[in-house]
Amino acid sequence: MNNDTFKLGGKEFNSRFILGSGKFNIDLIKSVANEGGAEIITLALRRANNGGEANILDYIPDNVTLLPNTSGARTAEEAVRIAKLSREIGCGNFVKIEIIPDSKYLMPNNHETVKATEILSKEGFIVLPYVYPDLVIAKQLESAGASAVMPLAAPIGSNKGLVTKEFIKMLVEEIDLPIIVDAGIGKPSQACEAMELGVSAIMANTAIATAGNISQMAKAFKLAIEAGRLAYLSGPGRVLNKGEASSPLTGFLQD
């Protein structure tokens, strides 16, 4: 797999597993990142408490690229503000745009996301927009300077799997940017299936964080993502509507 690196925002990664750091104890981040082989980890920005509280940056391995999200933003303007504050902390210029006005299904506002992508990419950010998989929007994101498109598989945190599969396939075929499936992937098999479609990477958080053994599940995702990637690169075998023997039918009993 060494010659199959994942190129994103001018960097090269050996791993195609982007790990979300929410919903689990920061003490576990190192082992989860190591077991999952994750080289990119997402973070959120929130008001800081005084009094020397533990900071998540102290728990993330040094080789990891940080991907702050703009969670909490309901408009492009709010996302831009969060992105700029995040960059000021000094951990690079990657940003995952997440603009969510809906608190029930957590559906992103695709149009505001295009606006924020345009603004932030002009300001030198590596912009990874999280969207509902819509081909027209994805093309607009491409023109707006996005470095990847992050379509949702199912609602955030739902673990429902690859519900939007047919629409993600359109993006893989038509969009000349890495497609990173984000949100909703609940099991390694679903991550594998998405990779088999030809997406470039998988982002998962809740599937890991709500697993019984968090670090082990991270490893399961790593293996599934690698398997799906290899299968994609291999070119899946064809499908028939009837049987075709795998063993030779001649040369012995009925010759």
């Binding site: 979300g20 750091s21 929410g22 919903k23 689990f24 920061i26 981040i29 997402t42 973070l43 959120a44 920005l45 929130r46 008001r47 800081a48 005084n50 009094g51 020397g52 900071n55 998540i56 940056l57 940080l66 702050p68 999200n69 969670s71 700029k84 504050l85 995040s86 000021e88 902390i89 000094g90 951990c91 955030i156 945190g157 949100a183 982002m203 958080n205 809740t206």
Partner: protein
Amino acid sequence: MKLNGKQFPLPEAVTISDFLKSQNYPDDKVAVELNGEIISRTKFKNITLKDSDEVEIVCFVGGG
């Protein structure tokens, strides 16, 4: 002043840098917005907070 949306008594003017230290914020891991404007870390020592200011101090937390 108003700190992260709440009133915070500021008896005397103090630099951002000294304020962060006195309140035990890790100044290399936070971003500061003063009256709506993001303040670069290199200016923490030069800019003084006043009681009329609105300040946001933010940091990274776990998120997906």
